[in-house]
């Protein structure tokens, strides 16, 4: 028995409310959170009469997905599913952010969701939800029409001066758009991370934790065997997906290693192998998402995830060795 469910945003959240209307074909709640099915996904599936699925071990065809549950800190995943027009429920309080922020709309995305934010939907909101899907179709039709008009206009002949004027205008517009995109990324992604890293670094340096790190971790991280061990640990198949999201851990560790290099506790010629040692887990959390972006079949995703994770155990330490060899003569 399927029941429609309303998902509202939590106190620190953004977007929504989403009305999930399960049907015979479309009733799966896919949890893409790493480390099994998120309890929220189970709860939603339970309420609406659907089925909760672990997106890492089972690939689900997009047509069967009612909604996805993610725990994205705001880099990539939060925009991937809205881009595919799939309703996205983030358990973390993250607003419109990341590389795909423009696809995140309140109709498709809701964040900081907890079990208390779930509710059964009444008849009127179900009607509204059905109506809004029709609206989306209407918008597509309008865009289609606009494209046809543009195409027709482009077909008309123009004189040389107009054409030069138009192409200069187009190029200038491209430069301007590029500048706007850049500032967007700086404000939405780079500056927030700098603020976060500065705070951590400041506390570590001023509180004396820095000295502890210098005395305990640096001697290990500053040798080839030490770095091989670090990359191996990062690549262990059940650890790598946890370390991956948003590369936050790799970035923090990178900054700490950088600080130790600046202090001379880690030799500067280890900079290159260190870049690979701390990054053996890159994208391990993102395999199912990345593969489905590449339109891989569900079967491919199911075996592709372990293939990538196992491969990292070999290629992680291997990359450190290659980088170590390649850093000869550097600095």
């Amino acid at each position: 028995m399927y029941k429609p469910v309303i998902v509202r945003r939590g106190s620190g959240g953004w977007g929504g409310p989403l009305t999930l209307v399960p049907t015979e074909e479309k009733h799966k709640i896919v949890s893409i959170t790493g480390g099994g099915i998120h309890p929220l996904a189970v709860k939603i599936a339970d309420m609406c009469g659907g089925e909760a699925v672990d997106g890492f071990s089972h690939a689900v065809p997009e047509g069967e997905i009612l909604a996805v549950v993610i725990d994205c800190g705001g880099t990539a995943r939060c925009g991937v599913y809205p881009r595919k027009n799939i309703m996205t429920i983030n358990v973390l309080p993250v607003g419109k952010s990341g590389a795909l922020a423009r696809f995140m709309t309140p109709e498709l995305y809701v964040s900081d969701v907890k079990e208390a934010n779930l509710d059964y939907a009444d008849e009127s909101s179900v009607q509204a939800a059905l109506l809004s899907t029709e609206d989306v179709d209407a918008v597509h039709k309008r865009e289609d029409l606009k494209r046809k008009i543009d195409a027709a206009r482009a077909g008309q002949k123009r004189n040389i001066i107009t054409r030069i004027g138009i192409s200069i205008g187009q190029i200038v517009n491209k430069f301007y758009a590029a500048g706007r995109e850049t500032i967007d990324v700086v404000i939405k992604n780079i500056l927030p991370f700098m603020a976060f890293v500065s705070m951590i670094l400041g506390i570590i340096n001023a509180s004396g934790i820095g000295t502890v790190i210098a005395n305990t971790i640096s001697p290990v991280a500053g040798t080839l065997p030490g770095m091989l061990v670090i990359s191996f640990i990062c690549a262990i198949p059940f650890i790598s997906p946890i370390l991956g999201p948003g590369a936050v851990i790799a970035q923090v560790v990178g900054t700490l290693v950088g600080a130790q290099i600046a202090l001379g506790n880690i030799p500067v010629q280890y900079a290159l192998p260190a870049l690979f040692a701390i990054d053996a887990q890159v994208g391990a959390d993102f395999v199912p998402v990345g593969l489905s972006l590449g339109e891989a079949d569900p079967d491919t995703i199911e075996l592709g995830v372990p293939a990538v994770l196992y491969s990292r155990v070999i290629t992680g330490p291997l990359s450190v060795l290659i980088a170590y060899a390649a850093s000869i003569g550097l600095y």
């Binding site: 190029i171 500048g179 600080a259 690979f276 994208g283």
Partner: protein, 182 residues
Amino acid sequence: METIAAVANGFMALFKAGGETFTAFVTGIIPLIIVLMTAVNSLIKIIGEERFYHVAKKATKYTLTRYTVVPVLAIIFMGSPMCFTFGQFVEEKYKPAFYDAAVSFVHPVTGLFPHANGSELFVYMGIAAGVQALGYELGELAVRYFLVGIVIIFLRGLITEKIYLYLKSRDGRRKTQEAEHV
């Protein structure tokens, strides 16, 4: 009273150090990145993604280019995470290996092309900041990171491809056995 003031001073010192780091980041890293990113973004808009598609589609056929040229160009032109959509032009059985190669390049690319992955700059920048603090130039580190990255994504592509094909053949055998039992 004096103790309270001392505690307050110590507390503020924690964040003053952070503030100084932040100023150093903003004045030292941001201006260059903004101009560089704008330049590369404009170039990509002028060249157009379609032209890149045209070249890269052909290159997915050959093992050597599938795990080197294609992912590198995909990341430079489309950035992360959109570069993974390029997997749709890769043969089904090579998709996991292609993903592995592509995703392993999202950090090596940032030394030379920070626009490609603006939200994960600090894997490289964090370490580079330390090297810079010692007075070394970053050019060589960035170039070597990029080149070693290409070697590594190629190997990763090859190895993941082999592992995936092995898992798939084993899975195939299991499925036929199950079918025979039924």
